[in-house]
Symmetry: C2
Subunit: 225 residues, 2 copies
DNA sequence: ACAATAGTGTCTCTTAGACAATATCGA
DNA sequence: TCGATATTGTCTAAGAGACACTATTGT
């Protein structure tokens, strides 16, 4: 019967730090794999969680101190072998969060590990991380996803760098700006520029209102572009 | 605890019939919604199913008499409200199957319903169907997915028609052939052509070996229902 | 003025679609 | 031969990338 199934949620929290993509790991505080670094996750609490997405948001809130990031379902990983306790099922999500948010979360237990350099993790978490990277990279080339790795405001050269870090290759500047223009998801902040350096300052941009993810976790699944 | 969670698998079985996309529905033989048309699906059996994909394949085999179709995970739908019995979770898959295979399966209970014309189904099955259609159409424009709706052999004009039915709009013939050529997933069958009509016969093609999925029907008589 | 980076104009090359010419069947 | 559809050739338009030019800051 289905009562034997271990139902959990895991989150691949991706962020930028030192110009490279990192995944957030936490030491597990229960067996199995107590003390070992793993993805933030845990059992679904039917009494507490509206659905699995709410459960994922709870994991991020409780374990990483992060609220309302870009959060999207990645897939469900299941089977007899992945958890030593028995037949289990993990509904996995990935989240994109600006580096500053993670650093400000003040959860000292968080370890930011190079996302491409994950060799082994407990359960099938390494496989989940790889699936998340594949998904994010596939979607990045034609969508607005990477903006969620930036802060509230950013310049176009900064945003381009984020795309380049994700995709792992340089992007044509003119094409990039054309694409951003077509997507119509950004708006310049009137009068705001990033100055301070000995060169021409760059215009600051922000996400247009309807694409911003604030404290409402209700509307989901929409990916502009 | 997680033991309260109802874990099931549902399958959106898509096929072509009468030049339009259909979804396979079955009358439920248990409460809730006994006798109502719904997606083929059921509880995960941890003792029997290697993982959720195996469970989905089992549903197709037992309930629709179809083996080894194109099968891909769609997503997991969850929450308190979707099943009157309590907090539930459905790992959903979609399958693409040639029309002939469905017709030959000889499961009289199967109803082929116009896929775009699904207004209400039990649980959140209508939402699941809509998600499947979105996914299939998104992937169809740049991938080889639709070939799995064709039989073992087909002509390029036939395949183009399948793409056009899926996408709902005519495709440029030259572009279509160029794209198929670039994808390098098809091979002409030497000497085989689709003749019989009063016009030039079309070359028959098949999927190249490495892309083929063995499509077969289950032996009749095995029907644990 | 100079160094350095932001932002733009334009050219070329690649690719997608329109159009039409040619090919091959049964009647 | 004719009617019908398959297949291919080629022209044109749209889009992506390369390149270089202009713009604006601090020193």
């Amino acid at each position: 019967m289905s009562s034997k199934i271990i139902c959990s949620v895991d989150v691949v929290l991706l962020t930028l730090s030192n110009s490279s993509l990192k995944v957030a790991l936490l030491e597990r505080d229960h067996d199995p794999f107590r003390g070992v670094l793993a993805l933030p996750g845990g059992f679904i609490h039917p009494d507490e969680d509206q659905d699995t997405e709410a459960a994922a948001a709870r994991m991020l809130r409780d374990k990483a101190g992060i609220q309302s990031p870009y959060l999207e379902q990645l897939g469900t990983f299941s089977g007899r072998g992945r958890d030593p306790r028995g037949w289990s099922l993990s509904v996995s999500y990935y989240a994109l969060v600006p580096g500053a948010v993670v650093q400000a979360s003040e959860r000292p237990g968080i370890v930011l590990h190079p996302a491409d350099d994950v060799d082994w993790l407990p359960f099938d978490h390494a496989q989940i991380v790889r699936a998340a990277l594949t998904r994010v990279r596939d979607k990045s080339s034609y969508s607005s996803l990477p903006v969620y790795l930036c802060g509230d405001t950013f310049t176009l050269p900064e945003l381009q760098t984020v795309y380049e870090i994700l995709l792992g290759e340089p992007i044509n500047k003119v094409s990039f700006r054309r694409k951003m223009d077509e997507l119509e998801i950004l708006e310049p902040i009137p009068g705001a520029q990033k100055a301070g350096k000995a060169h021409r300052p760059a215009q600051l941009y922000r996400l247009r209102k309807q694409f911003r993810r604030k404290l409402s976790l209700t509307d989901r699944g929409i990916n502009p572009g």
